[in-house]
Symmetry: C3
Subunit: 204 residues, 3 copies
């Protein structure tokens, strides 16, 4: 298994865990929590695959996703108390997750002959739409619409990737540089409490 | 028309009725109620078809769905008072509906060469996603995430079906056994007030 | 560029602007507002394309949509104060937008061999689903489910189009007649304060 595949599975697990944790704050039952964990993990990649016409979608064909997601959800429900203490580990996994999903989304779109800017949108969709569906199903306005530097990190990371690939930099190096830049941006954003400008009527 | 097709149309009508009834509790207008009724009826099958790559999706190609759904919605709006009194009939139709949708989802996925566990997920998606979309559009957390034994009944029924098919039991018998087991589970759940364990932070 | 293409791009811009304006009322950040503007503009056409199996979806293959949408969103965020004063212009653009999206949805569906009534549903989906997704993401019950003659105008306009096409009326004329009838219906609805009947339990 190559580096990217491994990171893809790790990212999927991280997303399943984050979805399940969200669900525990909503008084859902076992099925509800499992559904939310599942959709958070596969939502972004599924929407990307559907829009590209890459069907049956990836997780349907490769059962490893299904097994890893169910295991992550079960793990989260059982070791809930301990997982919440591992905030930094979770943050790292989640950030690796969005980095990997961004790269995979871009790669798939380029493979389908899509141009660079739209490929970037596909990368971004892979990374963020799972969380958007999670929050919408939980009846919240999606977190990434009003908090944190999250999508921005994907966009910058994705740009790094496209530029490095354009100059024929070795792929593994590009991947590591992309994910590193996303991690650094999110760490800086948290350290210096950065966020995007709010858009409100109040600006009038 | 074979038994399964007949039950599929009956289930679709039951879902259209349940969607329309939900809509009447939300102060929507005629279009809103129709939209919700429609999406409840075709939502699960549509998402299943999209993920499998089975496009144009079923209801677009077979106009009988469209006609039956519109008729069910109209019927519901006109005879609203009387339908609410038929709770047990509605419950029976709805339960037959999820049973049939589970079987059809599994069958379609198997036909596309998908393995048994993921086919089960496709069966479950067919049965429950219409209701998830209905509740999300009505701005509620989906009912099946926190109430009733519903998805659980589909999962057990679907397992019954897959096991019987695995042992080459005659198909009609498998279908009837599946739907019967789903009906029995839901009746038992209501009679004994069973529900899945809640997942909350309070478990800490 | 023919008339319909031009109107399609104009309608897309109108939808991006209306989505962005909605977002400004929700305390979202720059990314959230952009996401909502984007999804409002491409949501209906994307769902239509997915259900028809017309993938990769239109906006992925034709970058002009992407560029126009981003420009519209930026324009809206910068000139917010002035745009809100142009209510009538916005209303006109939006109405042209739904008219064009209705026609394009119908045309695409007919091209895929779909019959007239279901093609109408595809036209309607193209026109209204972007707004439904916008409101759902903003955690509101979709506006068109309880306010305004909106979908009704599309249905009547779409019927006009199908009838004129059935009698082999020249296509440009049919298109103009369709969009004009939608504009007239919406203007009349506003002038005489028309709306669809509310569907509520209170009718009992």
């Amino acid at each position: 298994m190559d580096l990217l595949s491994f990171a893809d599975y790790a990212g999927t697990c991280a997303f399943a865990i984050s979805g399940t944790i969200s669900a525990t704050q909503k008084k859902l039952d076992l099925f509800g929590a499992t559904f939310i964990g599942f959709v958070t993990a596969i939502g972004g990649g599924t929407i990307r695959d559907l829009m590209l016409g890459n069907t049956p979608v990836t997780w349907i064909l490769d059962s490893k996703y299904f097994i890893l997601i169910l295991a992550s959800i079960l793990f989260t429900l059982v070791f809930y108390k301990y997982i919440l203490k591992l905030k930094q580990t979770l943050f790292l996994f989640d950030t690796i997750g969005i980095g990997v999903f961004t790269i995979i989304g871009i790669e798939k779109a380029l493979f389908f002959g899509i141009n660079a800017p739209i490929s970037m949108v596909m990368g971004l969709s892979s990374a963020v739409i799972g969380g958007v569906i999670r929050d919408t199903l939980c009846n919240d306005v999606p977190l990434i619409f009003h908090k944190e530097i999250y999508a921005t990190a994907c966009i910058i990371g994705g740009s790094v990737y496209l530029v490095l690939q354009h100059f024929n930099v070795e792929t593994h190096f590009s991947q590591i540089a992309t994910i590193s830049s996303i991690i650094i941006i999110r760490l800086l954003a948290i350290k210096y409490n950065l966020s995007l400008p709010k858009i409100t009527n109040a600006q009038e």
